[in-house]
């Protein structure tokens, strides 16, 4: 979707503001939101979580802090799933007689859950369509659902730098339509191809793009 989250190349969003000695969490509640998002029974796949945050209305997305957005998305997922009601959130306690669940993640398993090696690579029968060195164009597409093809790259020509094998496709996975693994490539775009003659002739931007985002150029 062409949301404000897809902000690469925009102007006017203010100066970068580094903070000396920044804490991991600025407020205790931020850590709780982060932890609840990870431990929540609504935690589906990573793509669905990203898409949920993209659905936050644009003005709110720009105004809210990072963990305010996470909190809003977590609350929305819990309400949508029916696991929690608005009345319960308002009251801060379970409705009388509501069923008692079992936590998906217990303390003893946290370290293993956070550090366990895993992979988004899947075996597929199809051969990759592109090889390193191939010129490819990012397709001019404007899907209304989740995608990881930023607007600033669409329609532009780059060169395949590296193949990563077939990875889970966010455009499908975010919507519960299955992993639909597709070949993934690092594609390098010259800065001038993306931004015009004012950009440095030496500079480039590389993106990781799935095969359905690309066509031969």
């Amino acid at each position: 979707m062409n949301g404000v989250h897809d902000m690469g190349g925009m102007h006017g969003l203010g100066p970068v503001a580094p903070e000396p000695r920044e804490p991991v969490f600025h407020e205790a509640w931020e850590g709780r939101v982060h932890a609840m998002t990870i431990a929540s029974p609504t935690r589906g796949n990573i793509d669905a979580g990203r898409h949920q945050r993209e659905l936050i209305p644009g003005p709110d997305y720009l105004r809210w802090t990072y963990y305010e957005k996470w909190f809003a998305s977590l609350s929305a997922l819990l309400l949508t799933s029916g696991l929690v009601t608005a009345a319960e959130i308002a009251a801060g306690k379970a409705a009388p007689g509501s069923p008692k669940g079992t936590p998906r993640l217990v303390a003893a398993d946290v370290t293993a859950a956070m550090t366990r090696p895993s992979s988004y690579v899947r075996e597929v029968a199809t051969a990759p369509a592109f090889a390193a060195g191939d010129r490819v164009r990012a397709r001019q597409i404007n899907p209304t659902g989740h995608t990881r093809l930023p607007r600033y790259a669409r329609g532009h020509v780059g060169v395949v730098e590296r193949r990563h094998g077939a990875h889970v496709l966010p455009d499908s996975n975010a919507h519960g339509l299955g992993e639909d693994p597709r070949h993934l490539y690092t594609v390098r775009f010259a800065a001038r191809e993306l931004w015009g003659p004012d950009a440095s002739a030496r500079d480039s931007v590389s993106l990781d793009l799935w095969e359905p985002y690309l066509e031969r150029a």
Binding site: M36, R50, G92, P103, M114, Y120, D208
Partner: protein, 209 residues
């Protein structure tokens, strides 16, 4: 008081399509949500404590600094890092979420690398921990790709025009770790001393060492 406040928010929630409302008193609202989830047996509060502890004490830039220091001092390790960064980083026990597919990108005299996630906040958690606020914020996400040299200048990093700037937009589950140039005059130093010189921003690419 708190109940009145939440009742108001609750009424307000119904007016929106996505049920995603402007948070007001965040600490109270988060506490209320956690209480409900714990009450219903949906989360283990001790697991939440452990997750917070993981991010506050177990992961962070010191992990990435060890990778960099080893790459500087051990040519065989550098070769493995170039061949398969995920495996080379796993040798140091830095594995897991948001580090599933690692690539190390090396700065040199003629090339400088800068990492961003324009679409959200993708960042290599096992080696750098959670990202700083500026990395997740609109100014950096919007400008790192179109004006990397301007962004670098705001970090005090002025690069000569003949140095190539390579920006990496983390659009998939591949995560990038910048290997900064080893500072001059550090020939006699060991891995621990070198690791102490490596900064988080150096491994994102916004600063030099």
């Amino acid at each position: 008081m708190a109940h009145d406040h939440h009742d108001h928010d609750h009424g307000h929630d119904h007016g929106h399509d996505h049920g995603q409302d402007p948070p007001s008193d965040m600490a109270l609202r988060v506490k209320a949500l956690e209480s409900v989830l714990v009450d219903k047996g949906l989360v283990d509060p001790a697991a939440l404590d452990a997750i917070v502890d993981h991010f506050e004490t177990k992961v962070g830039p010191r992990n990435g600094a060890r990778v960099v220091a080893k790459a500087w001092t051990d040519p065989a390790y550098l070769a493995r890092l170039r061949e398969d960064a995920t495996a080379a980083i796993a040798e140091l026990d830095f594995t897991g979420r948001q580090g599933e597919h690692m690539i190390a990108v090396e700065n040199g005299p003629d090339v400088h690398n800068l990492v961003v996630c324009t679409l959200c906040s993708c960042y290599p958690w096992p080696v750098l921990g959670l990202p700083p606020v500026w990395y997740k914020s609109p100014p950096y996400r919007s400008r790192a790709v179109i004006d990397p040299r301007g962004v670098l200048a705001e970090f005090g990093t002025e690069l000569p025009p003949d140095v190539e700037v390579r920006v990496w937009d983390s659009t998939a589950e591949v995560r990038y770790l910048v290997i900064p140039q080893r500072p001059a005059g550090t020939d006699g130093l060991g891995e621990d001393e070198l690791a102490a010189m490596v900064t988080r921003d150096g491994m994102i690419g916004t600063t030099l060492l």
